[in-house]
């Protein structure tokens, strides 16, 4: 069936779509052999984490968190999807996609290996294949997977589902109660300027209107305000 990201938005929001597709994906051992990257305070990122973060960072880029942050390409000066919790969102129980993450990473790495071969580009062999790509190549590869006209059907559904999760992590903080997320300065909600709630965690806008006539009504409007 013909698929678009509009059609897939909600499927992506739940993420379970990937569950039915993971069996078709062959795991790639390259990622498992790659070295972990060292973060501050001895923090390490495993290849699976790095690959998911690199995917998220390609869609909504952020700044590097530390010097050896290989997952985040660092093409933005602000916090991106990684800082906004793309990974915890994908691991949030009600989203239901956590069991599919290893297969997703394997599929992404397999696609990256194919991309590297076809574009004759060189990458650091000690990094997972997708993480090893520059931002330019990461974006070009995802452009092909997500927008390519030759890509269609279940495979495109698979990629869109995970892209949707990244956007929901950034734009909705969907693994957190929204009031708490806003108060705690969730990077995505902060960047878009999501308004703050009242003290009881509910939103109210006493000032919501210009409170003046801004256009003429249609001359044939009925007394109740309807078209004729």
């Amino acid at each position: 069936m013909s698929l678009t990201r509009r059609q897939l938005l909600w499927l992506a929001s739940i993420g379970a779509t990937g569950m039915s597709l993971v069996d078709a994906v062959t795991p790639n051992s390259d990622a498992a052999d790659a070295r972990p990257s060292a973060g501050p305070d001895g923090l390490t990122s495993d290849p699976l984490t790095m690959t998911i973060e690199a995917f998220a960072d390609t869609l909504i880029p952020g700044h590097k968190r530390y010097a050896a942050d290989y997952a985040v390409a660092g093409v933005s000066h602000q916090a991106g999807a990684v800082q906004a919790g793309a990974l915890p969102f994908m691991r949030f129980g009600p989203v239901g996609v956590a069991p599919a993450l290893p297969a997703f990473v394997a599929a992404l790495d397999a696609a990256a290996v194919a991309y590297i071969a076809s574009h004759q580009t060189s990458v650091d062999p000690t990094l997972p294949p997708f993480v090893g790509l520059s931002y330019h190549h990461r974006k070009a590869m995802l452009d092909h997977l997500l927008n390519g006209k030759k890509e269609s059907g279940d495979e495109q559904l698979f990629w869109f589902a995970f892209a949707g999760l990244v956007f929901l992590a950034y734009h909705t903080a969907g693994y957190l109660p929204t009031a708490k997320a806003v108060r705690d300065g969730h990077p995505g909600l902060k960047a878009i300027g999501f308004p703050k709630p009242d003290r009881d965690g509910l939103w109210r806008f006493p000032d919501f209107s210009y409170r003046r006539k801004l256009a003429r009504r249609h001359p044939h409007t009925t007394p109740g305000g309807n078209p004729r």
Partner: protein, 537 residues
């Protein structure tokens, strides 16, 4: 004595299409049972949160081939999650003809005829006419832009208690303040007060002939697990003398199609002619400086707008393109509407693409200066439902995500109508560069919260599943009263028309009930007052 439960009238679905006949039949004296697939939430249960597991309890997102549909899934149906625009369809809609020149609506149906029923619904909900003081900033910007481009623009009437409304902009989550006039506040409590039983988490699967003498139909249902809607916790059958199918324009055809064999055949039009109301979403990103200099807008010192998330989601609409003198296919409503951030993936940083990466991030940073717009055009009813799944209306992937076997491939005529509406919006938004008009997605696919017409009324049996009385052709006592019975896209939001048609159909159903010996009076019952439901906890 039969061991099968029986009732006079069984209503499938509790949205406007089900709640209204449930009230009318119960008030007339019939024993009424309402079966609702979704859960029963009350005002205090509605959360201001985008966390997965909150709003996803009551909203379904249904992905089909060529169209995606947002629909309610709870007691009160889509009236709980809708944005409450309460508009009468323009008069030309009722005279629309299909591509073959055939009249689509029943000939006797006119705006003048429907006005009587619109009056009843507006009085009952009730509907409020917004003044300019009630129109939120986003609606104000759209109005000012229309005016600047030489167009008129109207505040949109809403089924909202404007005194109680806090302008929180969480309508998709259900109204926490009890200000949105959903079925939970009027028809359903009134039906309950007259003895109607409302049963949540009951998903109807099949309609068959009844075995108990005196009853017409046996309705089989499964009980839905309260936390995981994919699971079944039980099953049952209720027999009824009258069955009203109002499960929504996606579920109603599925229930009927699955029942084709047991009912001894169905009209050809069941599951055909689906319409997403001609919905077409696009957006603008606005230039704050130009809004101040050109449109003279200022909401606080130094700030012209930056108010996309503030206020009621629907504020204003231009009726200029609803002129009946315009060419058929070139008539549409253009409405300002807010979409929650769950849809932010759809916006495109430049025409034709760029929905992720640095360009999109820069667009996202200007989110408070966005304006989303809905065009509602005359489409061609191109949707066709495939074979229904073994149970339910679709394949439920998770509690809020579903795949439907509906196919919607818009014709060139519909795509041209969208292109015209796009050009109209662009001409308004980009006059003197107050903003940039952008795609909400570059594809021709539809996104709609207004599914219609999959089991429509009409005079011509070749293109309509139901008679003008809303009775399914060839099946006495079986009625369809939800959005699926509306024959065409409406060029306005459809909820008020669905409700008005359900009011009108209820008169026919009460008369039928009387004819088949149900102890009902046929006098018009008074409109219900406002009230609150008694939740059987």
């Amino acid at each position: 004595m039969s061991v099968i439960e029986t009732t006079d009238v069984l209503v499938i679905g509790s949205g406007p299409g089900g709640a209204i006949p449930a009230y009318r039949l119960a008030a007339a004296g019939a024993k009424v049972v309402v079966l609702e697939r979704g859960p029963w939430l009350e005002t205090q249960d509605f959360e201001h949160s985008l966390q997965i597991g909150t709003y996803t309890r009551i909203v379904d997102y249904i992905t089909a081939n060529g169209v995606s549909i947002v629909a309610g899934n709870c007691v009160g149906g889509s009236s709980v999650v809708y944005f409450a625009a309460a508009l009468r369809a323009p008069s030309f809609v009722f005279r629309r003809r299909d591509a073959s020149g055939r009249r689509i609506w029943p000939k006797s149906f006119t705006r003048e005829l429907l006005d009587r029923w619109y009056d009843v619904v507006e009085h009952t909900l009730p509907v409020a006419e917004q003044t300019w003081d009630d129109v939120p900033y986003a609606g104000g910007v759209w109005a000012a832009a229309c005016h600047h481009a030489g167009h008129t623009c109207n505040p949109v009437p809403l089924a909202v208690n404007l005194r109680e409304c806090t302008n929180c902009n969480w309508m998709l989550n259900g109204c926490r303040f009890g200000a949105k006039r959903s079925m939970l506040l009027n028809y359903l409590p009134a039906a309950q007060a007259h003895g109607a039983a409302i049963r949540p988490l009951h998903e109807v699967q099949l309609i068959s002939p009844a075995v108990t003498p005196g009853y017409s139909y046996a309705v089989s249902y499964t009980n839905v697990d309260a936390t995981d809607y994919r699971l079944t916790t039980g099953a049952g059958v209720i027999e009824a003398k009258v069955v009203i199918v109002a499960a929504g324009a996606v579920a109603t055809p599925a229930i009927l199609q699955r029942s084709a064999v047991t009912l001894g055949g169905l009209p050809r039009a069941v599951g055909r002619y689906f319409s997403p109301n001609g919905d077409r979403v696009s957006m603008a990103v606005l230039d704050e400086r130009k809004l101040h200099e050109v449109l003279k807008l200022e909401r606080k010192p130094g700030v012209a707008y930056e108010a996309f998330p503030i206020g009621k989601p629907i504020g204003s609409m231009t009726y200029d393109y609803l002129d009946p003198k315009r060419r058929a296919g070139d008539r549409y409503g253009l409405q300002q509407i807010y979409f929650p951030t769950i849809t932010n993936i759809l916006s495109e940083a430049r025409p034709g693409g760029d929905w992720f990466g640095p360009g999109k991030e820069r667009l996202t940073d200007r989110w408070r200066s966005w304006l989303t717009l809905l065009a509602m055009v005359e489409d061609g009813n191109e949707g066709v439902f495939g074979t229904p799944p073994p149970t339910g209306a679709f394949i439920r992937v998770d509690s809020a995500a579903a795949l439907s076997l509906l196919t919607y491939h818009p014709t060139a005529r519909t795509r041209k109508a969208w292109a015209r509406s796009d050009r109209a919006i662009k001409s308004i938004i980009e006059k003197d560069r107050i903003g940039t008009h952008l795609d909400w997605s570059a594809t021709p696919n539809a996104l709609t919260a207004h599914p219609l017409s999959s089991c429509r009324i009409g005079d011509d049996p070749a293109i309509s599943a139901c008679e003008p009385t809303h009775q399914l052709r060839g099946h006495p006592g079986l009625y369809v009263t939800d959005g699926s019975s509306v024959p065409t896209s409406l060029c306005v939001n459809p909820s008020l028309t669905i409700a008005a048609l359900a009011e009108q159909a209820s008169r026919h159903i009460v008369r039928y009930a009387h004819q088949v010996g149900i102890n009902v009076h046929t006098d018009q019952t008074p409109p219900p007052g406002s009230g609150s439901l008694h939740h059987p906890k």
